[in-house]
């Protein structure tokens, strides 16, 4: 069943655009609160050990300082099961940069200055931050992110590799990467007095309001309620505008708890906390570095007999996060023998977390470069190789695809991109530049997460308000939901106002897993239908109806994934090895596109992030100190405008009839998947040099 269409599918301009470009959109830190105080954290300068002593006298003496809070005097949390969020609850230090204290003062300057005067002495223990594939203590997690099993093994990969006419067996690495949204992580905590429990705990009467920059107000609310031992209705999280997240604001991090603890320490004062760019490198999550072994076995005709993708990556010793790097290899290509595994090293490093397309983004760098190597070994065009290995049904579940159009994407892209001009590796010299073309496949699963609810109210005068506690982190969700509601109600776009970004609004799942539009959108459709069902076309003013997101029975019967083909042209300076990317093209199959304007931004934004991953981004951990030494945007390089020339995205005109009422599968993450591989493959085509370690820097191309 599809919604009636007038607004959906049109390039409506962002509903919040004018507010953003005129500065009226109040981001979290700018939120006016009465009589605010400001917090600045004190961070551990060792990677592992315990705090032996703290001298905060000098800090406390700074004019304007209201409180210096450390583990000795911070309020006790009700639930410390999540070690990342058990802030200032013990003297233990699990990674460099962890919070060991916070200063609250009348001005941000005084807080920061005083934080620098807090003297902390440590009892240091040996630490270990270095990821190696041969290190002892690697373990298989119970499951990996997304709820997938850690390992799969089907058929006999070793025997198939043994028997294969052509094989590829290579190691690929990706470095520690950082989400780095433009707006840093910000929390403004306001406590309503309530009764203070004896011993400084949080009595039931207390009420916390958190203005937060988050991808999920409801997620922050439920998590913090548990951490502070408060009933959820006594916690409110407000977050209308978010300056990017890329996964790093998908779940609460330590700073949320720190802001609330800081505010608790200065009764009656709201407290503002904004992480600095540098603090974000230790405290806002990151993508684990990966060491990936990919083995491909094929007949001389390129038909795969074996696919093995075995990954070693890190997590923090204090909290497990297992990126699902090899999961995509389970469904991507037809091969009777398949093995995937994830092994973790629990290191004394900051806590890793979601970063755009966790799993697929690093995993498809390895898998899709390996496919390029196999094409070369078989003497096949890389597109033809992928076409030959396109599975009829999902190799893993045996289910039919709801729509797998990878080969169409590849062929469409080849025609548009001028793929036929591709020459043999290292043979096309234009001026002093080696020119190459590369391709890679891309995929991302369809997720529709249960737990969202929308409510529709008729305001009178032809105007409707739709409420759902969702988040627009710059993606265009606000606009898409307005379009969906307009069509589902059968009214003009301008007649609908959507309210999001507040946990007092009906429950909504996180803006993550490219699931927002599909999950919240189907709740909105259901609510609009319920409204029309009860009130018809002539509702009385004040009429209100709501609905939960309906179940998704087809998700159990079909293998539902989006697909894409990524193309890149690179020009490599033959003498200096400098790489430029004059052109990228993505062709995607994602079901229905609700808003072509904002969707295009998501695709090309993801592809640009993939370009940045290919050529620039690399966190450098100093293993002597456990410190990410390039922890700012001067040294942690992200592509600049001057690096991005012509990035274009198109998509198949389609609808996935199995993907809920919208026929849409989600678009936020697929743009990054395979982009780095397409560039690495193009670099190989240009130079003949195969790069298996990211990022691709000029020096590795000159050998």
């Amino acid at each position: 069943m599809t919604v009636w269409r007038e607004a959906v599918g049109t390039p409506a301009a962002r509903v919040e655009g004018p507010a953003k470009v005129t500065g009226r959109a109040g981001y979290t830190y700018d939120r006016p609160v009465t009589d605010p105080a400001y917090a600045f954290p004190v961070q551990a300068t060792i990677a592992r050990g315990r705090v032996a002593s703290i001298d905060s006298a000098a800090a406390a003496g700074v004019e304007g300082v209201l409180a210096v809070v450390t583990h000795r005097d911070a309020a006790r949390l009700a639930d410390t099961g999540d070690a990342e969020l058990a802030v200032l609850q013990s003297d233990e230090v699990g990674f460099r940069g962890q919070f060991v204290g916070v200063v609250v003062a009348e001005t941000p300057q005084a807080a920061r200055y005083a934080a620098g005067l807090v003297r902390v002495e440590y009892e240091q223990r040996p630490h270990d931050t270095e990821l190696r594939a041969d290190r002892p203590g690697l373990y298989a997690p119970e499951q990996v992110n997304g709820g997938f099993v850690s390992d799969t093994d089907e058929g006999d990969v070793d025997a198939a590799m043994e028997a294969a006419a052509v094989t590829v067996d290579r190691a690929y690495t990706t470095p520690m990467e950082f989400n780095s949204p433009m707006e840093p992580h910000v929390s403004v905590a306001v406590w309503d007095p309530g009764e203070r429990a004896p011993g400084g705990g949080f009595a039931e009467g207390a009420r916390l309001t958190l203005f937060d920059s988050t991808q999920g107000p409801h997620v922050v609310r439920s998590t913090l309620a548990q951490v502070f031992g408060l009933p959820p209705e006594r916690v409110r999280v407000i977050s209308p505008y978010v300056g990017g997240g890329f996964g790093s604001k998908g779940m609460p991090h330590a700073h949320n708890v720190l802001a609330a603890l800081a505010a608790w320490a200065v009764p009656g004062r709201p407290v503002k906390l904004a992480l600095t760019r540098q603090q974000m490198f230790a405290l806002a999550g990151h993508r684990t570095p990966t060491i990936q072994r990919v083995r491909l076995g094929a007949g001389a005709d390129g038909r795969l007999t074996a696919v093995a993708h075995e990954v070693v990556e890190h997590t923090s010793a204090i909290k497990e996060f297992a990126e699902q790097t090899a999961v995509g290899a389970r469904m991507m290509y037809a091969a009777p023998n398949r093995r995937t595994s994830h092994r973790l090293a629990a290191l004394d490093v900051p806590v890793p977390s979601w970063m755009r397309a966790p799993g697929e983004a690093p995993g498809f760098f390895a898998l899709e470069v390996a496919m390029d190597e196999l094409a070369q070994a078989c003497g096949l065009d890389p597109i033809e190789l992928r076409a030959r290995n396109d599975p009829e049904v999902d190799p893993e579940s045996g289910r039919p695809w709801s729509g797998r159009h990878l080969v169409r994407c590849l062929r469409e892209g080849a025609a548009r991109f001028g793929w036929a001009e591709r020459t043999a590796p290292g043979t096309r010299l234009v001026g002093r530049e080696l020119v190459g073309l590369g391709v890679a496949a891309s995929t991302y699963p369809y997720y529709r997460l249960p737990g969202s609810r929308a409510v529709v109210e008729y305001e009178g005068g032809g105007r409707y308000t739709v409420r759902i506690g969702a988040a627009d982190i710059g993606t265009g969700a606000w606009t898409a939901l307005t379009q969906i509601a307009a069509d589902a109600l059968g009214c003009r776009l301008r007649a609908v106002r959507v309210e999001i970004g507040d946990s007092d609004l009906p429950a909504a799942t996180v803006a993550g897993g490219s699931s927002g539009t599909t999950s919240w959108g189907s709740a909105v459709v259901a609510a609009c239908r319920a409204f029309r069902h009860v009130y018809g076309e002539q509702p009385p003013a004040g009429a209100e109806a709501g609905a939960d997101m309906p179940d998704d029975p087809d998700a159990e019967r079909f293998a539902m994934h989006s697909f894409g083909a990524q193309f890149a042209e690179v020009r490599v300076d033959a003498d200096t090895g400098e790489v430029r990317v004059p052109r990228m093209l993505g062709v995607f199959s994602v079901g229905r596109v609700v808003n072509p304007r904002t969707a295009r931004s998501q695709f090309i934004g993801g592809m640009t992030m993939g370009l940045s991953m290919a050529l620039h981004e690399r966190g450098v951990l100093d293993h002597r100190t456990g410190h990410v030494i390039n922890h700012d945007l001067a040294e942690y390089h992200i592509a600049t405008h001057a690096d991005v020339v012509d990035v274009d995205a198109v998509w198949l005109d389609e609808e996935d009839v199995h993907a809920g009422p919208l026929g849409a599968r989600g678009i936020g993450e697929i743009g990054i998947v395979g982009a780095a591989a397409a560039i690495a493959n193009a670099v190989h085509n240009a130079t003949g040099v195969r790069v298996r370690d990211l990022p691709i820097t000029p020096d590795v191309l000159l050998r």
């Binding site: 003498d575 200096t576 001067a634 600049t640 690096d643 000159l702």
Partner: protein, 286 residues
Amino acid sequence: MDFLRPATWEDALAMKAARPDATPIQGGTDVMVEINLDKGRPTALLDLNPVAELSRWSWTAGPAPMLRVGAGVTYTRLIAELGGWLPGLAQASRTVGSPQIRNRGTLVGNLGAASPAGDGHPPLLASGALVEAESVRGTRLIPIGEFYMGVKRNALEGDELIRAVHVPPAAGPQCFAKVGTRNAMVIAVCSFAVALDLRARRAGTGIGSAAPTPRRAHAAEEFLAGELDWDGAGPVDPALARRFGELVAEAAAPIDDVRGRADYRRHALAVMARRALGWAWAEREV
């Protein structure tokens, strides 16, 4: 931290004499970064922005007039107003940071910071600039080659300020080249400048980011003076250009770091030197 705000140059010099520990601040694009990164907290900042005459440029007197670029002249203005006379310096200035940084940052700030990676240094070395340093004790002109003393150290005395840089107008084509790991907002992996003096039949060179200090490639300069066919038409002899590149690379003393390996830097310097010479020479013909 004290914040000193002289209204005139005389006040500035007096304050610096009284407070040699004070850190001058012009555009602040280095000073503020260092403070934010907690790399030592200055005991005092000496804000030179109110001193109006610093933001002017003029010609020096004498038989061979030079451009006297005041300490407050930003990169943006240098490019727009002086680019015709100082093409190498303007070319380097265009690669500094972003428009915002070029609107605040100054060449003299680059000299004050004396980072081996500063983009202003190679063209100043190549064209034989002089640093006008002044204190209450008087003024001296420091040849640019004697100005850099070590990583982020320069020849200024504690009571001295830089009033201006004196740069000879180009006497021939000039060229600047830089390799970075991205296309903008990047600290050079290495950089190189060449300035040809067609009348004196000399070439100046400057190497950046490939030794503890920016430096010239003396042997390469002598080689060009002696071997280049200064009257010849047509492109530079490729063998000569290659040799020039080798000599430039030999003059460097690079290290391995996050931005690049030492051997890569040497290689890239040779390439840049060869190309910069070729480009500069080609410009002579138009």
